[in-house]
Structures are given as C-alpha cells and as structure tokens.
C-alpha cells in the first residue's frame, strides 16, 4: 500500500499529455458544437480504436482483440503469470456525445502506462488497458455489450445477430472494421474504471474524487393507462375516466417513493404520451415510463411493490385500466471492497478531497465486477452534463482522477 511516506509519494501522471490525447482522439467524429459522434462499430469507431492501438504499441504494449471486438493492451508484469490489473472503459459515443464519456477511462489507462514507462516502474502483475465494445447501445442494443459478453451475460451468437436499423448485424460490422478477434477472455486480478461522474453530486459537494462503491439497480416499466376520451366542457368531473389524472397521480407517487426510500433511491417519469392530446378533450389514454433505482436489491423490490400498489390505486381512482410491463431489471452492483479501498487510499495519499458515491448509471465496470474485483473513480463534469456535445470537464480534475488511478493500480498490481 502506498502512503505519504512511500518513495512514490511524488508520483504524478502527465496531465497535459492526458489532455492532449483526449483532444486528439476527440477529433475523430468531432461535431461542430464541440462534441463527438463516434458510434459503435462504424469507420470512425475503427479510427479511434486504431489510434489507441498505435499509442498502445508506442507505449510498448501488445494488443489482443476478442470476438466481440473488446481490446486488451497489455504491459507485462514482473510475474507475468499473475492475473492482470485492468483499466478501461469505451471509445464509442452517443450520437450527440461528448469528448470524455468513456474515452477518459481508456486514455487514463494509457497515461498510467506512459507514466510508469517514464519512471521505469515495473509492476508485479501485468496491466491491461481495455476498450469495451458498444457501451452506449446507440446503434446496437443491448448497452454495455462488450463487457456484458465478457462476463457471460450474453452469448457470442446472440450478440453477433443483433442488427442496427439498417439491418447490419454486429457480426458483420465487427468484420467490416476488422475488429472481430479471437482472443480468449482472461480474468483480472483487479479492474478500475475512471469516468466523469455524468451527474451533479461531486460538483454540488465541491469534491474532486468520487470513490464509487457501487451502482444503482434499475427496474424500468412501461405503463399504459386507458380511460375514455370525452369533451372537457360537457363532461362533469364525476363522469370522467381521465388517463392524465391517473398519470399525474402516479408521477407524484414515483417521486414520493424515490424521496421516501433509502439507499440512493431514485424515481423518474421521463416519457409521457397523451392521447388525443387536445386541449379541450379529457385524455382517454396515456403511455408513460417509470424508472426506479436503488443501491440495494431489497429496497428496490419494496419500491417496485409500492409503485405497483400506488399505480393500481391511482388508476382505479381515475376509473382507468392500467397495464404495467417491466422492460429492464438490472440488479444493484456492489464493487469489490479491496478495489474501492485502493481508490479511497489513493485519493487520501494525494490529499485530494474525496467522497463515497454510488453510480446512478450503468458502466462496463458493473459487468466486469460480476467476474473480477472492480471499482470506479469519478471526477466532476461541468453541470453534471453528459450524453451531450457540451459535456465538459476540468483538465486538472481529469489529471487528479488519473493520479488516483495510478496509485490504486500500483496498490493492486504491486511493484517488482
């Protein structure tokens, strides 16, 4: 374990080099508004992968590619038989994405290796910088395809058959860009994923480093409320079957539930479609989405039960029918304590302000953690904005997160 008294107490990555690499990669698929459009398994994705592979080679690493196109750039360890310490994230972007979502994790890994090279530091365990295929899920569903496949959640056959809107399959797209490899999956001794927070918590708390303890479980539902269209004028309140009234009550119940339950509970009604959606017609149908999240499975179960009962009561009160379909069930993730602790201690050894945080969104690390000890490092992003061309992060914050990463990696990989 590194401490302030360690001979590596002055170890710092090169923040300017990290920033320059981020900016160079961001040219591939750059948008006029300063964002990035580099959709999974397109030619631009291939260009990004090729650039990373070139940089990895220049840093002395060897790159393997697995059948899903996941890339593993390996720096040998003194004991090369040890399971490697992984560092990674993704290079694909949202259709109107930013410069940091995903790329920060990959290029932080590269920067750590470059720094270790500069210092002539040899680790006991090898280090592998990973690029996971199709994290965003914008072109091909499901999201986090590469890491999900890696951990055994999806089969090769099923993923190869997934098609985009033009009918092009993942298998075809991987072969077209030359990234259908044959490397067999290997286990990590530890895995770290630095990422911009994509939320407002660190900025709101004026804190530099988020020690990510886990990720919220997610349960998503489609709700259809069916009442009866009727004229807003001639129809007395007591004779209405107002689907919008039911939708409104359910929306408030979702907010009540999210505020009432513990463990970072969240609830969102993000999608609402009203029919006929005319100002003087009582709505006869509303379709709405429900998104419930919590860090603990038991809490999430209780929230879902509360939602189902509340929604049924709200629909009955408005004399509407209700149909509820669950469309996503993603269990909560608890990262490996030894990896979380390594991040916490690294931040402390650097004197950085840090706080425990739970990721609200999914990340490749969540799937990796199902098979190998993993954790994440969050740094602030401006206004919590992400999945947006205006996504922005402070170079000093990015460098600090990478410094934390370097120390956490050394703590888990050991020094020769």
């Amino acid at each position: 374990m590194l401490t302030r008294a360690s001979p590596l107490a002055d170890l710092r990555i090169d923040g300017a080099r990290l920033w320059a690499s981020l900016m160079e990669l961001a040219q591939i698929g750059a948008t006029p508004k300063g964002g990035v459009r580099r959709i999974a398994l397109t030619d631009l994705d291939a260009q990004g992968r090729d650039l990373f592979a070139r940089w990895a080679g220049e840093a002395g690493m060897t790159v393997r590619v697995d059948p899903l196109g996941n890339m593993f750039a390996r720096r040998a360890g003194a004991d090369d038989a040890l399971p490697p310490v992984g560092i990674g994230s993704h290079l694909d972007s949202q259709p109107s994405g930013g410069k940091f979502d995903g790329t920060y994790g990959v290029l932080s890994g590269l920067e750590v290796v470059r720094t270790l090279n500069d210092r002539g530091i040899r680790t006991r365990a090898p280090i592998e910088v990973c690029v996971w295929t199709n994290e965003e899920g914008s072109r091909f569903t499901p999201v986090m395809m590469g890491s999900g496949w890696w951990c055994g959640e999806f089969t090769t056959e099923a993923m190869y058959a997934r098609a985009d809107v033009d009918g092009v399959t993942v298998g075809e797209a991987l072969r077209a860009i030359g990234y259908a490899g044959d490397a067999a999956p290997r286990m990590f001794g530890a895995y770290f994923e630095p990422h911009i927070e994509q939320g407002p918590v660190l900025e709101d708390a004026d804190t530099l480093i988020g020690v990510v303890r886990g990720a919220l479980g997610q349960r998503w539902f489609d709700v259809v409320l069916t009442g009866q269209d009727s004229h807003a004028g001639p129809t007395p309140m007591r004779l209405r079957r107002d689907a919008m009234a039911a939708c409104a009550k359910i929306t408030l119940e979702i907010n009540r539930i999210a505020n009432q339950y513990p463990d970072n509970a969240r609830g969102t009604v993000g999608f609402v479609q009203v029919k006929p959606n005319s100002r003087n017609v009582v709505p006869g149908e509303v379709r709405m989405s429900i998104d419930l999240r919590s860090a603990e499975a038991a809490t999430l179960d209780a929230m879902v039960a509360d939602f189902r009962a509340s929604a049924a009561a709200a629909a009955a009160e408005a004399r509407c029918e209700i149909a509820i379909e669950q469309v996503v069930d993603f269990p909560p993730c608890h990262f490996a304590p030894e990896c979380v602790e390594a991040v916490r201690e690294a931040a402390a050894s650097l004197g950085f302000g840090a706080m425990d945080i739970i990721s609200g969104a999914g990340h490749d690390a969540v799937y990796v953690n199902r098979r190998a000890p993993a954790a994440m490092i969050f740094v602030p992003c401006k206004g919590g904005l992400s999945h947006n061309e205006l996504e922005s992060a402070d170079p000093a914050h990015l460098a600090a997160g990478c410094d934390v990463l370097a120390r956490a990696v050394l703590a888990r990989a050991g020094m020769a």
Copy 2:
C-alpha cells in the same frame, strides 16, 4: 302559455320526417364510418345550405343571407312587425364530425314550420330558422364566427380577413360559394337552439330533455414549465429540476379545484408535451394546457386565482420556472329566464322527463343571448359522444326535443 288543457295539447311534430331530413342532409359530406365532413364555406357546406334553402322555400319561407353568410328563413307572423322568434344552429361539421351536431337545431326549426303549416297554425310573431356560419371553427378561427359577428363580438372586416391554412380568406370563401349576402341583422324576440347534449349527463340520469339554463364560462391557459434535463440515474432527487413533477402536481391541483368549487366547475389538462421525452432523462421542459370552466364568473375568477397560486407553488417545489399565458376568456352565459321557462313548461306539458342542465361547451345561442333572449334544448346522445363520426342519437329523443321546441316557440311567438 300552453297547458295540458290547451287545444294544442296533442300538437306533435313529425318525427319520421325530421329523421328523414337529417339523414338526407347527412349524405352531403358523408364519411365511410357513418359521420359527416362538411367543413365551413366549402362546396359541401354550400350544398348543405342550398338543400336547406330549397326545403325552406318549399315550406313557404323566404331566405335572407347576411354578410357573414348567416341564413334566416322567415315564416311570416300575423303581426309581421313583431321581432321574430328564432330557431337555429349550424350546418358546418368537424373534420370528422357526426350527423346531428348543429344540423339537429336547424332541421328542428324547419320541422316546426312544416308542422305549423300542416296544422294551419299561424303565429303572431314571425318565425326565423337560422343557419349560423362556421360554428365549429375547424377551418377558420374563431369558433362561432357567424353568431359572434351577429352579436357584435367581431367586425366584418376582421372576419373577412381570417384565413385558412391555404391562405384562403373567409371573404373569398363566402363569395366563392355565393353566400356573402347583404341582409342587415335583425333582433329576435326570442331564440331557441335544440342540440344534442354532447355530454353524458342526460344519459347518465336517464332523462329525455335538458332545460339548458346557461353555458359554462371558459378560461384557457398555456403553461410552460422549464427545469433542467438530467440523467435519471446519476441525478439525486434533491438536485433535480423536474418539469414533469411540476406538471403532475399542477394536473392534480386542477382536478382538486374542479372538484372543490361549485357551479359546475370543471378543469382539464388535455395537452401535455414533455421534452426530451426519453425514459431515462429527467424532463427539462413540459408544455401543458389548462381548461377551467364554471357557470358563474365569480367562481371562475376564484378558480383561476387558485390555479395560478397552486401552479406557482408546484413549479417552485420542483425548482422550475413557470410561464402562464391565458389564451381564451369566455364568460359564463345565463340564458333568458322567460325562454328557459318556456322550455321547461313545454317539456312538462308533454309529460317528458326533464332536468336543468348547463352547457359545458359554447354554442351559437350563447352569442345570440348577448343581444336577444335565448335558451337551448338538449337531448341525449349515445355515450355522450360528439365531434366524432360515431355520434349517435335516438330518433325518438330527437322528435321529443323538437316537440318541446314547437311548444316553446308557440309560447313565445303567440298564436294569431
């Protein structure tokens, strides 16, 4: 006043003839689903007007047309200098309208005249059967254009300049179909408008005749709620600015207000548009409509004040901005007591079940009532359905309403 002892106690209109005329008129613009598409000032509207004018002529009436295309078919009275008793409604339809909305009022007037002719009954005051131009407002706004112009709410110049989506103006369309007349407006001694209820109240109460005492005032608003888009996962509840949460609270407040206030209070959120409307994004903007109605102006004012305060509080609670724009202000209408009483007594004299009712929607009679004593007669329509090709009414109910009309008209016109 007619009583059961009156020599006209057995006066009945010809329900089969009324129905046949309704069905014949419904052929003009008939839709495959059994409805009518006869939009104002189109060739089909002209065909409907021409048919009415022919029938009026065959019944011995003379037709005048005013500058807005309103038609007045006159049956002379014994004292022809007396102000006429008007009976009317409209012949234009919604784009996907029914066979009875409007036409029932016009053809009931025609049927009353035919019945009086058959019986050789001469009234003291003349009778004028009226066709009001563009009641629906589907092609040209505002709605109830002809009767609004007649009562002085709108100028000829302003109405002639109103254009449809193709840029055709009311003035051009009136001249094109040959219905830009020059008759000067005349006052009515009384005015009656029979209409299908377009609501569920009579059917729900199993009552044949609605004695319409007035019409609800209407205040319509456009509301824009502005918060901040944010990811549903990473954004804690306390840091959200959720425009949908504000919309939901306002919707429930509108329902509370409508249920809490007296005088047939109604409140409707019929239109809701959520942005970005993605299931895992907290909505940053919602546009919604508010429709508040009540039979009394003071009540409506109080409801609006309650709405404004509640909406501001709901927006503040969700940390959203709110902008409220009033887009319609239509005061409550109280029909003339002597006309309402004539309807009530006519129903009683016929032994028909009747109940007082307030129209939830606007009608030409509401504008007429600003200048002349007016009232309406409602009959049930199936399921309260209107503005729909499936609009349906029972021939016996339509005949009963016309019987009530005949007696109310005789009561106000007097017999020679």
